[in-house]
Structures are given as C-alpha cells and as structure tokens.
C-alpha cells in the first residue's frame, strides 16, 4: 500500500527542503484515507492527480522567489566580474574566442556537408560508377561509359532519367557581334536540366532538346555577354566556326555545387566535333559521368546486382562493371577526411576554451568560499548555492556568446577570403547554427559551473567561516589534469599541422620527372591546329625560346587512359590501365624528361608502326629486362616501343604514378590530335619573348585573342584548394594555442597571487629572483612535458592514418615531435614566466606588511 513512486519522486522535486516532511506527510495521509475508503487503485490515482495539481503552484512560487534571489545573484556576479577585471577578461574573451572559432568552423562544415544538397531530387539521384579489374587489381572510378546511361533507362523501369556529362570542360572562344569572350563550356545531355536543379530564369528547358546548336548560359555570363539585351534567340559564334542559339538562361549555380559550368552545350555535338559517329555509343570510353534519377525507394544493392554484368553483355571482353552510388554521398565521401579534421579542430578549440573557463572559475572559487558560508548561515540551501553558481557560470557564457557572435560578424569577411566561400550573414543566423551555439553555451556554462557549484556548495559553513583552507589538494589536482589535457590537445594540433604542412610541401616540391619552370603553354585552336610545324619554325626564330613541343595534354593532368594492352609474354592476369600522352619529337628537350633506355622520336618516322616511349613503371609491369623494340598492341592498334622514359607525374602528386605511353603520331591516325604548344623559355627578357610569341601566334591565327599560361603556375593552381585549407588549419591551430596560453596565463597569475607571502618570505631569506622564477615555472614545465607524453602516441596514430591516402608520404619522424614538444614548452614557459617574473620582482615588504 504505497503511493506511486514516480508521483512521489516528482513531488519531492517540487518541495523545498524545509517542507518536504510535512507536505509529503499530508499527501501520504490523504492517500491512506483514500485507500481505506475507495481502495488502492483509486488512492493511487488520487495521489498522482494531487501531485499534478501541485505543479502549477510550485512553478509560481519558484519563479516568484527566483526573481527575488536572481537580483541578488546578478548583483554579486557583476561585482565579482568588476572586482577581478583581468581574470574576468581572460575568462570571458577566452571562451568567446573559442566559441567564435567553433561557430566559424561549423559554418564551414555545414557548408561542406550541404554541398550539392540544393538539388531538389538529391535523394533519388545516383552516380554511375565503374569497377575496373586490372588483373588482380580492382579500382572503382566515377567515370562511366557513354552508352550505359541511356541503355539502363531503356531497360529498367526504375531508372526514370539519365544524364551524361563529358569529363572535363573546354575553353572556347565565343563571339557576339565584334565582342569576344573566352569561356568554359560544359558538354552534357539536356537531361541534366531535368535531373538536377538548375532553374531557368529565361527560356524553356524543352528547347534544349531542339538541335545540337543550342546553348544555355548562366545569369552572370549572359549579363556579361549581352548586357541588358534579352539573350534568348541570340546567336553566339563558337571558335569562329559554329553558330549557337541561346535557348535559356539559368540561375547562377550555387557555390556549393560540384557541377560548375557557365555555358552548357549539347553532348551530342561531340560526335561531330571529334568526327566519331560512335563517340557516344561505345562500351569502353570512360570519359563520361552518368547520373541516374531512380524511382523512389529502390534498393541500391538489388539494382547493382541486376546491372553489374550489363557492360559485359554488350562488350564481352570488358573489364568494367557498373554500379550506382547515391549522389548525395559522392562529395561527402571525398571530403569526409577534411570535414572530420575541421570538426575535430572546432571541438578541440571549444573544449580548450571550456577547460580554461573551468580552470579559472574553480581557481577563483576559493575566494567565494566565505560568501557561500555566509549564504548558508543566513539560510541558503545547498540547492540554492548550486543554482547560484550554475547561473553565474551560464551568465558568463552568455556574455561570451554575445561577444563571440559579435566577433563572428566582424571576422566573417576575413573568413570568407580565407575559405573562399561566400558565407552570408543569413548563414550565421541560420536556426540550426544558432540553436547549436546556444546549446553549446549552456553546456559550457553547466560544465564550467559544475565544479564550483557542486564542490563549493558542499562546504560546511563553520569550517569556511573559521578560515580553514578550503581549496583542497583535490581541486588543484583536477586543474592540473585539465591543463595537461589542454596542452596535450594543443600539442596534437601542432603535430598535426606540421605533418600536414610537410606533406603539402613534399607534394609541391616533389621531383615531377620534368622541369616545370619557365615553360609556357598556348592552346592550339583555329588555324593553329593545322600549321603546328610552321608556327614552331616561326617561333624558334626568337632566341628567347629554347624549344617547343606540341602535346595532346598538359602534363598537369592527363586523363586519357585505357586498358586491354597486349604484349609478347604478357601474364594473362596483368591488364594495366595505361595513360597516354601525345607529344612531338621535341618533348624531351622542352620538358627536360630523362630517357632511361632506347632512343627518342625522330622528326620523321620511317616506321610503318607508330613508335612509342613508355615510362619506367610500365616497363616494370611488362617485366622484360629489355623492352625496347618490343611490340605493344591494343585492339587493332600496333605500337613499337623505342624507349623508356623516367617516371613523371601526369596526375596530382598524391596519386601513385601509373604506367604511361608517350606517343608521337603526327598523322593522328591512332591517337588524339595536339591541343597544346609548350615552349621552354630562356632566362632573360621573358616579357619580350612573350610579346614575340603573341605576335607570331596572332599572325597565324587572326581573330583569336592571345592567351598563355605558365606551367608552374597552373601546377600551383592544383594545390590552391589544399593550401587554402592548410591556411585555415594553421589559423585555427594558432588560435587554439593562443586560447590555451590565455588560460595558462590566468592560472599562473592565480598561483603567483596565492603564493605572494611565500615568495615574500623566500626573498627575505635570500632567494634570488631567478630562483623564484624557476620555482614558479618549473611546475608548469613538468605538466607540459606530461602532456607531450600523452600527445605523442595519439598524434602518431592519427597522422599515420591521415597519411595513408597519399602515395608519397612525408616521414613521421622524431623531429616533428620534438619540434612540437619544444614549441609547447617554450610557449608555456613564456606565458608563465611573465607572471613568475612579476611575482618574483615584487617587493617582499609589500607582500608581508600585513602580518
């Protein structure tokens, strides 16, 4: 015969200590009578109802009394802030800084995670990927063969739509009247406007299906070309050759889209451009991206099971197997590492700031012991003291939050240029961000307030008021542990930053296998394409140009590759994916590539077969001791190897160098035609040389504006993204360390202050200033060293994991760790010694005169 436990518990929570006994008694007696009168169940119901009815009364009373006390609490809190200005400043700004960093990074993370999510059908869009089997080697790529998308749409009802992009974008010359524009054009199926969300501002998406000579522009591009004229129906001439009709203008593509194009032209054009009628219907060319819109609720696994054999059905000798993958995941997968690193940094910074806040609050709380004692004597309950300290701490964090929000608004322009993302004010005021921030504020407040609230409130008034020591050993041990943790985190950040920096510089400075300095490139377009040899002769008249080579690709990115190569004595399991790179006989001189074996191309090949040079990696795969002179065939192409070139990087350096073929095919029978002219310049008057090049090129190709690029610059551009992210990481690591130091500074000030008398006596007894400085800073040095011991193994494993994805890794050697340790100790010592010196230099008569 007991009242319901939950109701009783609830009631207990509502009552304050003094009235628990009597009121519980009343409730229980009522319950007892009710029970005798109407039975247990009725009584239990009655009891519960009574408790529920009590809640409004409780709330009313609480609020009323809280207001009375709140005024007092706020007054005391404000007095405390003002009395210890320096400490309050450190405490509040430190936390504010931490919060501001956290908010900024979270903005970045949110933006990254939201990439591509603006597409309305994002959840039903899938990317077609291809698994490639090279013998025992299996790779999954995001390329796909062109005919697969349309085939799947025909054959499977669950595929609602399919859209293809051609890999890569082309630079083209557009003419409107007498104005010329060099623009980047994307060839894609018109279905992209159905599958993806690229809203039309003008025009009708249906018109994009009309004929191959239609074009869609982004708003900005349309304005640039046509100004205030209406673009629809206007004609643009492409490469002084073909006329395109504008059928639509789309909204500018959001910055967080992985598909970026300003000009769309139909994919089917490419069959004409390349003069290959089957260009879009092969089962082997991987130079496309295919996206499918699937019926809602399909099972990806089941669908993949159905289609994995589809390419083989039509093209039995294939090594390709398709699969579909959610488009929403594609970017995230690729960026997960960075998103994780950034989120971790954000939380580490916030955590460090919180530790500061807790440390300083607890250190200072000893000063509040008397206040707590007095409050208790006057009748405060422990719960009230707890509420007071929690409230005070939340008040502090709210102040910090306000400052942090102000700081974020101030720093937003700088952060925009640091990240190259156009963050808007509205993103900061986004409800999820704000909600997260407010939650963080309260959690921080509660965490930081928990120690003083729970510890101080437990003091017995009598001990406190008698003046016994209250800040016990436990408190200082706890603080030390937090300082160690804080420094361990900072050291890990330092190590991480150094390793990432090393890795980036390793990649940037890696020997590429060719010399990228003073190499200038010009695109072959218009009439230039057919007069390469004459242009070369004309250009070389200038002594500023050392040598010239026409190529099919820029060595910063050769994307042409294929498999199915055969050679004498090939192990049937070996089927490498080989990249091919077209050059003319002068390539070796121009790029300064080294020949390991055999000979280079001769200007006029008397051979019946196309001769090629392969790289060392390919030679290694072929496994012959002497590959020069061997034949190589792929399909109906027959090649002869005449030399082996030293490995060179033809893809971003984080990828391993694969097998490659360098070909010379002046008749363009076998391979692609030349698209670039690379020129190695002599040092000296480069501007004069460039103007000579301009004159020559223009004389051969009138009507096209002259544009050029330096190879080292376009190479650096490959690393712009990673360098930008490095800058972010560096900035925030520095801030994290700054925040740690801020906390340490406050803590050192506190220790020095507590030991004022001790220092005074020591000085009177003859201690030297340096002796006291050492005494005061020794302790912190010890803890920072302990932090190192914790941080080293942790960061070793973390960074080892991070480096896995790079083919060429920087070493995780002792120097990195020693560097981090040394800088941490140094920074900590500098911070502490400022306070230590101040304390040590004080006049003992000042500190001792009150005794």
């Amino acid at each position: 015969m007991k009242p319901p436990r939950l109701a009783k518990f609830l009631l207990k929570q509502c009552l304050w200590e003094g009235e628990v006994s009597e009121k519980l008694g009343d409730f229980e007696e009522g319950f007892y009578y009710k029970c005798q009168e109407k039975g247990l169940n009725a009584a239990r119901l009655w009891y519960s109802l009574q408790v529920l009815k009590y809640i409004p009364t409780f709330l009313k009373n609480t609020i009323y009394w809280s207001f009375a006390m709140l005024k007092n609490y706020i007054k005391i809190a404000m007095r405390n802030i003002l009395r210890h200005k320096g400490y309050s400043f450190i405490n509040i700004t430190g936390l504010a800084l931490g919060m501001a960093c956290c908010i900024l990074i979270l903005l970045w993370v949110k933006d990254e995670v939201g990439t591509n999510m603006f597409h309305e059908k994002i959840d039903s869009i899938y990317q077609v990927r291809t698994i490639q089997h090279y013998g025992s080697d299996v790779q999954t790529g995001s390329g796909s063969v062109p005919i697969l998308g349309p085939t799947l749409r025909e054959e499977y009802p669950e595929v609602l739509n399919a859209a293809r992009y051609e890999n890569g974008q082309g630079q083209n010359l557009l003419e409107y009247g007498n104005k010329q524009f060099r623009e980047t054009c994307q060839k894609a199926d018109p279905e992209i406007f159905e599958v993806f969300t690229f809203p039309f501002l003008l025009g009708d998406p249906k018109d994009t299906f009309d004929d191959p000579y239609v074009m869609v522009l982004s708003q900005t591009t349309a304005e640039r070309i046509f100004g205030s004229e209406i673009p629809i129906g206007k004609i643009l001439t492409l490469d002084r050759n073909e006329d395109f009709r504008i059928v639509g203008v789309i909204e500018d593509i959001p910055h967080n889209s992985t598909h970026r194009f300003d000009i769309w032209i139909p994919l089917q054009l490419s069959t004409k451009w390349y003069n290959r009628p089957n260009y879009l219907s092969t089962w082997y060319n991987m130079g496309f991206r295919t996206y499918l819109e699937m019926a809602p609720g399909i099972d990806v696994e089941v669908f993949n099971e159905k289609i994995f054999n589809r390419i083989r059905q039509s093209h039995p000798e294939t090594i390709l197997e398709p699969l579909i993958y959610p488009f929403s995941q594609v970017y995230l997968d690729y960026r997960m590492d960075n998103i994780r690193i950034f989120s971790v940094i954000a939380f580490v910074i916030l955590f460090i700031a919180c530790i500061n806040f807790m440390n300083l609050s607890t250190a200072r709380s000893a000063h509040r012991a008397r206040e707590v004692g007095l409050r208790k004597v006057v009748g405060a309950h422990r719960r009230q003291v707890i509420h007071q300290f929690f409230g005070e701490s939340v008040l502090f964090t709210c102040l910090s939050l306000l400052i942090a929000l102000g700081a974020v608004l101030l720093l937003l322009p700088a952060f925009r240029s640091l990240t190259a993302k156009p963050f808007a004010l509205s993103q900061v005021l986004d409800p999820t961000v704000l909600l997260g921030v407010v939650a963080v504020t309260f959690v921080t407040g509660f965490l930081a307030g928990s120690y003083p609230a729970l510890f101080l409130s437990g003091f017995r008034p009598i001990t406190v008021l008698k003046g016994s020591i209250v800040a016990g050993k436990r408190g200082s041990m706890f603080r030390k542990a937090l300082v160690v943790l804080q420094f361990a985190l900072s050291i890990m950040l330092i190590i991480g930053t150094v390793v990432i920096l090393n890795q980036v510089s390793l990649m940037k400075n890696k020997n590429l296998g060719f010399d990228k300095e003073r190499v200038l490139s010009v695109r072959l377009e218009g009439d230039l394409i057919n007069s390469v040899e004459a242009v070369k002769v004309e250009l070389l008249r200038n002594s500023g140009i050392q040598s010239i080579s026409a190529t099919s690709h820029s060595p910063t990115g050769v994307y042409n590759n294929g498999d199915g190569w055969d050679w004498e004595g090939r192990d049937p399991n070996v089927n490498p994916l080989v990249t091919y790179f077209g050059v003319d006989p002068d390539f070796r001189e121009t790029f300064k590539m080294e020949l390991v074996e055999g000979e280079s191309f001769r200007p006029t090949t008397g051979h019946t077969m196309t001769s090629v040079i392969i790289n060392e990696r390919f030679a290694e795969i072929m496994g012959h001791p002497n590959v020069v002179g061997k034949r190589l065939s792929g399909g109906d192409t027959h090649l002869q190897i005449i030399g082996v070139v030293k490995d060179f990087h033809f893809a971003p350096v984080h990828r391993e160098i694969g097998p490659a073929i360098v070909y010379f095919d002046p008749t363009y029978k076998t391979f692609q035609r030349y698209r670039y002219l690379f020129m190695r310049l002599n040092p000296g008057n480069i501007p004069a040389t460039i103007s000579h090049i301009e004159k020559t090129i223009k004389s051969f190709n009138p009507g096209f504006p002259f544009e050029y690029q330096f190879l080292d610059e376009s190479y650096d551009r490959l690393y712009r993204g990673i360098e930008r992210e490095m800058a972010i990481v560096r900035t925030f690591t520095a801030l994290a360390i700054l925040i740690s130091c801020l906390g340490l500074f406050g803590l050192a000030a506190y220790t020095a202050e507590r030991r004022t008398k001790e220092i005074g006596i020591r000085k009177v007894m003859g201690a030297s200033v340096s002796g006291i400085v050492v005494l005061l800073s020794k302790e912190y040095a010890k803890w920072v060293l302990v932090a190192n011991v914790l941080a080293w193994p942790a960061s070793y494993f973390l960074m080892k994991g991070w480096l896995q994805k790079y083919a060429y890794r920087t070493s995780l050697g002792i120097p990195v760790f020693l560097l981090a340790a040394a800088s941490a100790v140094l920074i900590a010592q500098l911070t502490v010694s400022f306070q230590a010196i101040k304390a040590a230099r004080s006049n003992p008569s000042d500190s001792l005169r009150y005794e």
């Binding site: 009235e19 006994s21 009597e22 009121k23 519980l24 008694g25 009343d26 409730f27 229980e28 007696e29 009522g30 007892y32 009578y33 109802l49 009574q50 009815k53 009590y54 809640i55 409004p56 009364t57 009313k60 009373n61």
Partner: protein
Amino acid sequence: MKMLSRAEEIILLAILQLGDNAYGISIRDFIREATGSEWSLAQIYDPLNRLTHKGYAHKAKGSPSAERGGRHKCLYTITKEGKEALQEIRQMQDSIWNDVPDKALG
C-alpha cells in the same frame, strides 16, 4: 483594511474551528464537509502559505503518525491578527448584506 480572498477566508475559518488539529488533510476534510466540494492539496497550500506570510496563521511542528509514513504534521493555529481579519471581513459582509432586501434576490 485587511482583505482576505474567499479561499483564505474559508481556510482561516477552518483553522479556527479545528482548533489544535489543523493541518493539510484535516483542513481539506473540513472544507469538504462544509462546502461539499473536494479541494486539491495544492489549492489549500497556496492560501495557507499566504496566510502564514501575512501573519494570520502560525505554523508549528506536530506529531508524526503511522498513516503519514512516519512524517510529522505541520499544525496551523490562528493568530490574533487572523482573528481580527476574520472579524473585519465578517463585519464588512454583514454591512453589505444588511442593505440587500430579501426579495431583491428573487
């Protein structure tokens, strides 16, 4: 003028009549018998609190009992001021009621 709300008046009267046995449950029972309506404990505690704050009732610890789970009671007694307040409110009501003829109410 010491104003009392109706609830306070009823409770104060209950305390007066219950003498030295006025506590939560007994007051509630008294009210049920007098008015026929069942008040929740919360409805009693609130006016009781106000009465003690205004000084019309005095609170003291009483004896514990088994049906209370061994908890002591909180006994209320009426103070001098409380009695005065009751007097006043009664006089006021009387004087108002005196001027109302019976047939006015129908």
